[in-house]
Subunit: 155 residues, 2 copies
């Protein structure tokens, strides 16, 4: 039996989360505009900036677009000087995508106000509350990941 008093809180969390998901798009667009790039291109840079070495196909998988589209995307980023195509040392077919240091800095700078604001928010919380929030966010991303991965029709 759910009590009447914790219903509003659950509802508030649900609504806030949905609003946050909706806002995510706007945030990506805003970030892209700051960098003068398209939204997908920025996502690509963010993936590449994690440091995990990637080829064109890997990037395509990460972005959930076709490899052909990723090729064109990398063309754009390369033309803008944001990434470089390095040959793979062992596999002649492969390409290793390397983010330029300038692009890395640009992305970090554009994200800074956001990261700083969130950090301020987190630092303002008592440690045990921050812990609660971190755990909740971790669980939530897990749920979202599951939902996003789930096939449209359950087999």
């Amino acid at each position: 039996m759910t009590s009447v008093e914790d219903r509003p809180v659950a509802l508030r969390v649900n609504l806030a989360l949905r609003e946050l998901l909706a806002l995510a798009h706007d945030v990506q667009v805003a970030l892209a505009r700051r960098l003068g790039l398209g939204a997908t291109d920025v996502q690509a840079l963010q993936h590449l900036a994690t440091g995990v070495p990637m080829g064109t196909v890997d990037l395509a998988h990460a972005l959930k677009i076709r490899s052909a589209s990723a090729t064109v995307l990398v063309d754009r980023l390369e033309a803008a000087g944001h990434v470089r195509r390095d040959p793979h040392p062992r596999d002649g077919r492969r390409v290793t995508l390397v983010v330029s240091e300038a692009a890395r800095v640009e992305v970090r700078a554009a994200l800074a106000p956001l990261v700083d604001a969130i950090t301020r928010l987190t630092d303002g919380l008592p440690p045990e509350q921050a812990e609660v929030v971190a755990r909740f966010l971790g669980d939530t991303t897990e749920i979202l990941r599951t939902y996003a991965a789930e096939p449209p029709e359950a087999g």
Copy 2:
């Protein structure tokens, strides 16, 4: 061996949030695929489903696209039987967009697993922790909104 829990809480929250923002896109795409629509069309339905009466221009503002694009978007939704264009009772220029009950049900059903999972998660929290989470999410959406609204160059 460092585990995830050893990291500073602030960093974990920041990372989780960024992951959440990245996942939001995938979630929208997954939802769109379930409904057989484009991502923006689904967002439009979600906006319209809130019950706040809207015209084409209002929808355009909500989605941050041009009114011309919204017109075409509404054409698509109308052709698919998801919305209806009703004349505005007082303003002859205006159109009131009405979501069909079928579409409303479809969207709710497609979102159900997500909403249910989040609700389970929230209901599993002690009330005071839920309160902390709700407050944090509210503050976060505020930060994101500010970031998304901020002009590329401070003038």
